[in-house]
Amino acid sequence: MLPRDALGLGLRRPHYTHLFEHWPAVDYFEAISENFLTPALPPRERLDAVRARYPVVLHGVGLNLLGHAPLDEDYLDALGRLADRVDAPFVSDHLCWTGAHGVSHHDLLPTPYVPELIALAAERAAYVQRRLGRPFGLENLSSYVTFARSTMTEWDFYAAVVREAGCSFMLDVNNIYVSSQNHGFDPEDYLRAVDFSRVLQVHVAGHSREADGTLVDTHDHPVPDPVWSLYARAWRMGGPFPTLVEWDERIPPMPVVLAELDRAKGARA
C-alpha cells in the first residue's frame, strides 16, 4: 500500500520527456488504465519504465459500472493483467455509466440516485474488487444534470454503494466542488457522508466556468482556491490519505504540475 500521506501525479504523455530525464520526487503515479490495456508496445514500455522507479496505481474511465448492460469481462481480464503487471496497490474507476446499447460515449455519465440502483452498483463493485484481487475504489463524478427520478442525495447513494460493496472511496474533491456549485448543495454535507477510513485516495484538479456559470470538470487549470479549501477541510475531517493531482488538458510543463503537490502540502498544514 501507499503511505497514507503520499502525494502523486497523474501520468501524462506530455510529461514523459521531463520525467525520464529528471525522475522527480513523486511518491507515486496514477495511470489511466485504458491507455495501457491494449497490446501497443510504446505505452507499455513507458509504463514499465515508470513502474521501475515509482508505485503505480490504476484509474479507469471505461468500466461502465452503472450501464444497463453487464460488465465487460474482456475488459476486466485486461485490467486484471495490467494491475498484476504493475502490482497496483489499488485500482479505481467511477460510479457512473459510460455507454449503453452498444455505444461507448467516452464520458462519465450520472444516473438517477435511487435505492433500486444501490444493490446493482454494489454487487458489481464487489465483483470487480474480488476479480482484481486488490482494493477497488469508486470515484464520485462531476455532474451537470440531476434527474427527476432521484430520491436520494448523491453522497448518500455513494456512501451506500461503497458500504454495501465493501470497496473504497476514491474521493474527488474537485468533483464535489463542481457538482455542489452546479446543483446548489453544501460540499461539506458531502464530506460528512464519507467514511474516511475507507478512502483509498483523494483527487484534486482544476475546472472551467461556462458563460452561464456552470462549472465543467475540465482538468485544464491549476487547482483553484475553493478546491484547496475543500481539500483542507477533508484533510482535517479524515486525513491522512494519499492525494493525487490531475491535469489532463492544456497540460503545462511538469514542474508546474509538480508545484501543485507543494500546494497540497500547504493545504494540509
Partner: protein, 285 residues
C-alpha cells in the same frame, strides 16, 4: 457474476441520454453549437432544471463534450489530414463519420478506425482529393505503428533460406511502407512549426512517387528513403511469394533496370531483413 438485473427504466433513460449526446452540433453560425430543441423531450424531462440553466442547457454540456472529445481524438489520430483540411472541415467529416460509426469500444484509440476509407468516399470534389486520401493513409500508417504490439523481427535460419522463394514474407506491424505522390511526410515533419487551425495548402504532386520505410523505434518513428524499385519490391513481397514478387518486379522493369535487378533485389531484400521490416515467413515448406 450474479447481480440484480438493472431496472428497465435505466436502459430507456440511457438510450435517451445517449441520443442527446450524439445529437449533431450546428455549424451555421461558424461555431459549433448545441441544438437543444433537437433533444428528445423525454430526455429533457428526465433531467431537472438547475438554478442557473434549464435541463436542456445542462444536457448540452454533455452533448458538446461528446463531440469535442471525439473531434480531439480524431484530430490526434489524423494530424496531417486535419491540417490539410483545416480543423473546421476536418471536424465536419469527422462528425459525419462518427454519426455513421459511433464508438463501440471502451478504447478511445479505436474511435478513428475506418476513417481513412470513409474519408476517401466522402470527400467533396472540390477537395484536393488525392492528396487528402494519401494523407489519411499516412496518418493511418503512423497510428498503426504505435498501436502494434512487441514483435520480434524475422531473422532467417538456414531452413528458412531453403524455402524462401516459395514462401511469403509477413511485414512487421511495427513497420510500414509508404509510397507518396505528394511530399506529405515533409509536411508532416513541419506541422509543429505551422500553428493554427486553418487549412494548409496541399503540396504539388511529385514528378515520381517516393517510397519510404517507416520503422517504430524506442524514441519515435524512423523514416528511411527507399529506391523506387526497392519500394515496389517490398510492396510486392508483402503480397506474394518471393518468387512471384521477383517475377512481377522483373516484368515491370525497363530493359536497363532488368540487368541490375538480381543483385539489387538481393541487396534490398537483405537490407529489409536487417532493418527488421519482416515479422515472419509463411508457407514454402
Amino acid at each position: 457474476m450474479i447481480t440484480p438485473p438493472p431496472p428497465a427504466w435505466l436502459a430507456a433513460l440511457q438510450d435517451r441520454f445517449g441520443a442527446v449526446l450524439r445529437t449533431p452540433l450546428a455549424r451555421a453560425t461558424g461555431t459549433l453549437t448545441a441544438v437543444v430543441v433537437a433533444y428528445d423531450p423525454d430526455a429533457v424531462r428526465d433531467a431537472r432544471d438547475a438554478h442557473n440553466a434549464t435541463a436542456a442547457e445542462r444536457l448540452a454540456v454533455y452533448n458538446r463534450q461528446y463531440w469535442f472529445r471525439l473531434f480531439g481524438v480524431m484530430q490526434t489520430a489524423f494530424p496531417l489530414t486535419t491540417r490539410l483540411l483545416g480543423h473546421w472541415r476536418f471536424n465536419d467529416y469527422a462528425a459525419r463519420f462518427l454519426l455513421a460509426h459511433p464508438p463501440h469500444h471502451w478504447a478511445l484509440d479505436r474511435v478513428p478506425d475506418g476513417f481513412a476509407p470513409f474519408l476517401a468516399e466522402a470527400l467533396d470534389p472540390s477537395d484536393a482529393r488525392e492528396a487528402l486520401v494519401e494523407a489519411a493513409r499516412i496518418d493511418t500508417a503512423w497510428r498503426e505503428l504505435f498501436r502494434a504490439p512487441a514483435v520480434a523481427p524475422f531473422r532467417p535460419t538456414a531452413a528458412d533460406a531453403a524455402r524462401l522463394l516459395d514462401a511469403r514474407l509477413v511485414p512487421s506491424p511495427a513497420t510500414a511502407l509508404v509510397a507518396e505522390h505528394f511530399p506529405l511526410l515533409e509536411l508532416k515533419a513541419d506541422l509543429a512549426s505551422i500553428p493554427g487551425e486553418a487549412p494548409v495548402p496541399a503540396p504539388a504532386r511529385l514528378p515520381h512517387p517516393r517510397w519510404w520505410m517507416l520503422l517504430r523505434e524506442p524514441d519515435g518513428v524512423r523514416q528511411l528513403p527507399l529506391a523506387p524499385l526497392e519500394g515496389e519490391l517490398l510492396a510486392l513481397l508483402a503480397r506474394h511469394t518471393v518468387r512471384d514478387a521477383l517475377a512481377r518486379l522483373e516484368a515491370a522493369c525497363t530493359e536497363a533496370e532488368r540487368d541490375a535487378l538480381p543483385s539489387h533485389a538481393q541487396r534490398w531484400l537483405a537490407r529489409s531483413v536487417e532493418r527488421g521490416f519482416w515479422a515472419t515467413l509463411r508457407g514454402g515448406g
